[in-house]
């Protein structure tokens, strides 16, 4: 070996050793890093890897049903037959849709929507093609599956209201979750999830909703499900049973279908509400998939206010239906007896104005029973001034007027049961004698809801028991004995005689509309709520008849009825907005309602569960 090469080898060996050392140093850095990642930090990265691969998917619970007192469905969840398409499994989306079109009608706009969605989302995600298919169409698709690659028949549930507009105000409706309603509950973020938006659907939403189940699935980076790892089924929502009897509800709603009206039917002993109709109504099924703007506008724009539950939210001056309260207050105070009379010549001076009785010929000398059955205004102007507002107010309060019962449905109004304190608080002015006279015939400041009138009627006829209205069926509470309000039975009998005569005495205001050819009698009280004031000039020229006025100017017709007189069972409150007279319009409705109830009890011998008839 040449000396030069020896030097070169020496140099090479030295330098190669340095490089080898460097390489070993770097390699130990690699090993150190591997140890750090795979041993020291392992658990942390294991967790992250699991988060990557495991995806929790919520399973929507089945919504509870809303049932009538016999368990018949008012709101239910029906099987919804749907067809979806998974673009990546088709042999060309257009061709598949065209083939599917032979079995399921697909509109051009649907077609466009599907193509748009397919372009936007990942190709393994299903796109809805058609919902609410009937069984025949759906089974047709299933049979022809071999010709329809990528088509996925799917069975889901959707809310269905079989009785449609019959109890819409009471039940409400469901709809998609809005942004404001998101509260962090992931269930609400499911795309097809619906929650209660109105009525009982809204009030009892959480009870009806149930709780979500979940399925743990393994997903890949694109979110495609590889397999299911575990599953916890959802828990269906609770059913809600109402005191409503669908047959009664149906009769009530149909009886006033063409009016702007409300009917309440109440069991006078238990307080259970057997029917609660408000018209015009709407079809809650329309709200399921989001109501169309056109329908919504027409509902909102209707002057008859189809979206309002008039039975509990409508507040009206009770007019003559309030007279029982004034009479009872006077009787209880000993101011009058059944025999005491007053004289009505149709005119009554209150301060410096003249008030008129509805009967321009006057009623002559009449006692309290006649004053009720003939609805004399002059008698009650005078009586109210004798009794005083505070006594009237107290009596009205005992009968539930001005009280919100909180029966557990939406927008129950309170009404107004006025007195001096109320007027000072609300208007800052002292109570005047004229105010008392007005309240004496149920006008002026006093206002009530049909529900309150039905409760008043029930408490009058059930022996003065402070029965409370109920809408939710509960077997245990059914037998609850209600507190006796301590009103003299004799005084109650006097007032009830007046109410009986309204239908049954030839001079009673509802005599033409009495029940005929029946082995029972009905009772009640008419009320006609003036919507426009009758001017002096008008009075001289002759009061216009309701038929001559614009609908919106016509009087509201009211009636508080009960039956049978012999052993009262049902209290019925009828309101017809701008219907005309309480006697001519509302009393026949109440009669028909009560006849339906009583005939049905007799003929079918149907026993209300838990109650001895």
């Amino acid at each position: 070996m040449q000396p030069s090469d020896k030097n070169k080898l020496k140099m090479f060996t030295r330098r190669a050793t340095i490089l080898s050392g460097g390489m070993m140093l770097l390699s130990s850095a690699l090993i150190g890093r591997m140890y750090y990642l795979q041993v020291t930090s392992r658990s942390q990265y294991e967790l992250l890897a699991e988060q990557n691969r495991i995806s929790m998917r919520l399973l929507a619970p089945k919504r509870g049903e809303i049932l009538d007192r016999y368990g018949r469905a008012i709101a239910t969840s029906t099987t919804d037959y749907r067809v979806n398409v998974i673009p990546e499994e088709t042999e060309g989306l257009q061709e598949t849709l065209k083939t599917l079109g032979e079995y399921v009608p697909i509109s051009a706009s649907d077609n466009e929507r599907i193509v748009k969605a397919a372009a936007k989302q990942r190709s393994f995600l299903p796109i809805s093609v058609a919902n609410n298919l009937d069984w025949k169409t759906f089974s047709n698709v299933n049979v022809n599956m071999p010709d329809l690659p990528g088509i996925q028949p799917d069975v889901g549930t959707s809310r269905f209201y079989p009785e449609r507009e019959l109890a819409a105000h009471l039940i409400g409706y469901v709809g998609s979750v809005s942004e404001q309603e998101l509260n962090g509950d992931p269930l609400l973020e499911l795309p097809e999830f619906k929650i209660g938006k109105n009525g009982i659907e809204k009030v009892l939403d959480e009870k009806l909703r149930g709780s979500a189940g979940n399925t743990k699935v393994e997903v890949n980076v694109l979110g495609r499900v590889i397999r299911e790892l575990s599953r916890q089924d959802s828990i269906s929502g609770d059913d809600v049973r109402l005191t409503i009897d669908l047959d009664i509800q149906k009769f009530a709603a149909n009886r006033v279908r063409d009016e702007s009206a409300a009917i309440i039917v109440m069991d006078v002993h238990s307080g259970e509400l057997l029917g609660m109709a408000s018209t015009p109504s709407f079809d809650p099924n329309d709200f399921n998939g989001g109501i169309s703007q056109k329908k919504w506008d027409s509902l909102r724009g209707d002057i008859r206010k189809p979206l309002i539950n008039k039975a509990v939210s409508g507040q009206y001056s009770p007019w003559s239906t309030f007279k029982m309260i004034v009479a009872l207050a006077a009787l209880e105070e000993g101011i009058i007896t059944a025999e005491d009379t007053k004289f009505c010549n149709s005119r009554y001076r209150i301060g410096n104005r003249i008030a008129h009785c509805w009967n321009k010929n006057g009623h002559g000398h009449i006692n309290v029973i006649q004053a009720l059955s003939q609805s004399c205004d002059v008698y009650f102007y005078d009586l109210a001034l004798e009794v005083g507002i505070e006594k009237i107010h107290d009596m009205a309060a005992r009968f539930g007027l001005g009280e919100r019962f909180n029966i557990g449905i939406m927008s129950e109004a309170r009404g107004i049961n006025p007195n001096n304190e109320w007027k000072m608080g609300n208007q800052g002015v002292r109570w005047q004698g004229g105010d008392t006279a007005n309240v004496g015939i149920g006008q002026g400041f006093v206002s009530t809801t049909p529900l309150q009138l039905a409760v008043m009627g029930a408490r009058l006829v059930n022996g003065g028991m402070a029965v409370k209205p109920k809408i939710f069926f509960n077997d245990e509470e059914h037998e609850t004995v209600h507190e006796n309000m301590g009103i003299s039975p004799e005084n109650l009998r006097i007032v009830l005689q007046g109410m009986e005569d309204v239908y049954n005495h030839p001079r009673g205001t509802a005599f033409p509309y009495r029940s005929r050819n029946k082995d029972y009698k009905l009772g009640g009280k008419t009320g006609t709520t003036q919507v426009t004031r009758i001017s002096t000039a008008e009075r001289q020229e002759g009061v216009r008849k309701n038929e001559e006025k614009e609908w919106i100017e016509r009087d509201h017709a009211l009636f508080v009825g009960y039956g049978p007189v012999e052993a009262p069972k049902y209290s019925v409150a009828v309101l017809v907005e701008h219907g005309g007279g309480g006697s001519s319009v509302a009393s026949p409705i109440a009669r028909d309602m009560l006849e339906f109830l009583l005939d049905r009890d007799k003929e079918k011998e149907i026993e209300i569960p838990g109650q001895e008839v």
Binding site: R15, N52, I226
Partner: protein, 382 residues
């Protein structure tokens, strides 16, 4: 006078002798490393030899044959061919560059019909051979002279500029570091490296200006991957999750959730080490590192017993190149260095790198078989 006598080779070996002297153990280690690669390619395809494992096996067998052929050919032939080989590689780099200029966009390979060849890969070998030959022919005194550095710097600079223009930062750095390591081994004065290193600092700052936005992004992302977890940092975060969750013994073959569910990017090429670490754990990773260590340790030991400076430098150059591949790739997937796109030697899917490394090892084996062959400074066939 026969050629062998003229160059003083009195122990000329037959092909049979050479094959017998070939270190078959090392060949076996290479086969073992490549087989681990086939297994992992089979795994990341979800348990299928298509589309990667089969192709890779075919390429490997071709490469292995080439390696053995190179190993038994006389090292003097390789020394003789060093410059022409360099010229060829440089020419191909220039062709790629011109094709890029002609509007085909960034392209790094030539279509040879049966495979796409990356000239930059060939250049790694060619540069090592050219530099080895240059220093072989230099006397001790000349080695120390500054002006002797001019030619090697040009040899390094030409491919560096061409590869940087592709642009391929990873390969540029590999070529540059391989070349510098070779100058170091050849005996260039130590202070020059120290001085260059100090001079490098402003150069790096200057070079920063020339980086493409995506290259800058890679460096920035490397420095703080969590800053952009869904964008550029996503790859490295997912890679670390895969590695870390593999633990000591791994999740099992074809059981890696990160790789099988596609959370891992480029799992069959640059990130295949992550798949090994996830499915076979720390043990799998260390086993692979051990195999690499055996290969490199063998080569280093052989290098000091080789009689020719050309052979020694060539071995060292190939070792450094091999090591840089391995180190940068593994360090990259573990988040130690930026993601630069360097494959894992003999394991990652891809033809050019596989061929480069096998050819490189062919030269190492050739130098080992012909270690007794001394070559005069004037040249192999002077």
């Amino acid at each position: 006078m026969p050629l062998s006598a003229r160059i003083g080779d009195h122990k000329r070996k037959s092909l049979r002798q050479k094959l017998a002297e070939l270190n078959w153990f090392i060949v076996l280690v290479i086969v073992a490393i490549a087989s681990l690669g086939f297994a992992m390619l089979y795994s990341v395809a979800g348990g299928s030899i298509d589309p990667w494992a089969k192709n890779q096996l075919i390429r490997f067998l071709i490469g292995l044959a080439i390696m053995i052929v190179i190993a038994v050919i006389d090292i003097r032939v390789w020394m003789f061919l060093a410059y022409p080989f360099y010229a060829l590689a440089l020419g191909m780099l220039a062709v790629v560059d011109i094709m890029g200029e002609m509007g085909k966009g960034s392209q790094r390979w030539l279509d040879l019909g049966f495979m796409n060849l990356q000239p930059s890969e060939l250049m790694k070998i060619a540069l090592v051979m050219a530099l080895a030959r240059y220093y072989h022919c230099l006397s001790d005194e000349d080695t120390l002279k500054l002006k002797s550095l001019i030619k090697p710097i040009i040899l390094i600079a030409l491919p560096v500029v061409l590869v940087l223009r592709q642009p391929d930062l990873g390969t540029t750095l590999l070529i540059m570091m391989g070349g510098i390591a070779l100058l170091f081994a050849a005996g260039v004065r130590m202070w020059l490296f120290v001085a260059s290193f100090i001079a490098l600092i402003p150069a790096v700052i200057g070079a920063w200006q020339f980086l493409k936005p995506y290259q800058k992004q890679r460096v920035l992302t490397f420095l703080d991957p969590e800053k952009d977890p869904l964008g550029a940092g996503y790859h490295i975060i997912q890679s670390k999750i895969a590695l870390g969750s593999g633990g000591v013994y791994g999740k099992g073959f074809i059981q890696g959730t990160q790789s099988q569910l596609n959370f891992l990017p480029e799992k069959h090429t640059d990130f295949i080490f992550t798949v090994i670490a996830e499915e076979l754990g720390l043990m799998g990773g260390l086993s692979l590192l051990s195999l690499y260590f055996i290969l490199l340790a063998y080569a280093m030991i052989v290098s000091v017993s080789v009689k020719s400076q050309f052979g020694r430098l060539m071995i060292l150059g190939m070792v450094i190149t091999f090591f840089l591949y391995m180190f940068i790739n593994i360090a990259m997937v573990m988040g130690l260095v930026p993601v630069v796109g360097v494959p894992l030697p003999l394991v990652s899917y891809g033809g050019s790198a596989m061929l480069t490394l096998l050819v490189g090892f062919g030269f190492i084996l050739s130098a080992a078989i012909h270690k007794e062959t001394s070559i005069p400074r004037g040249g192999a066939f002077a």
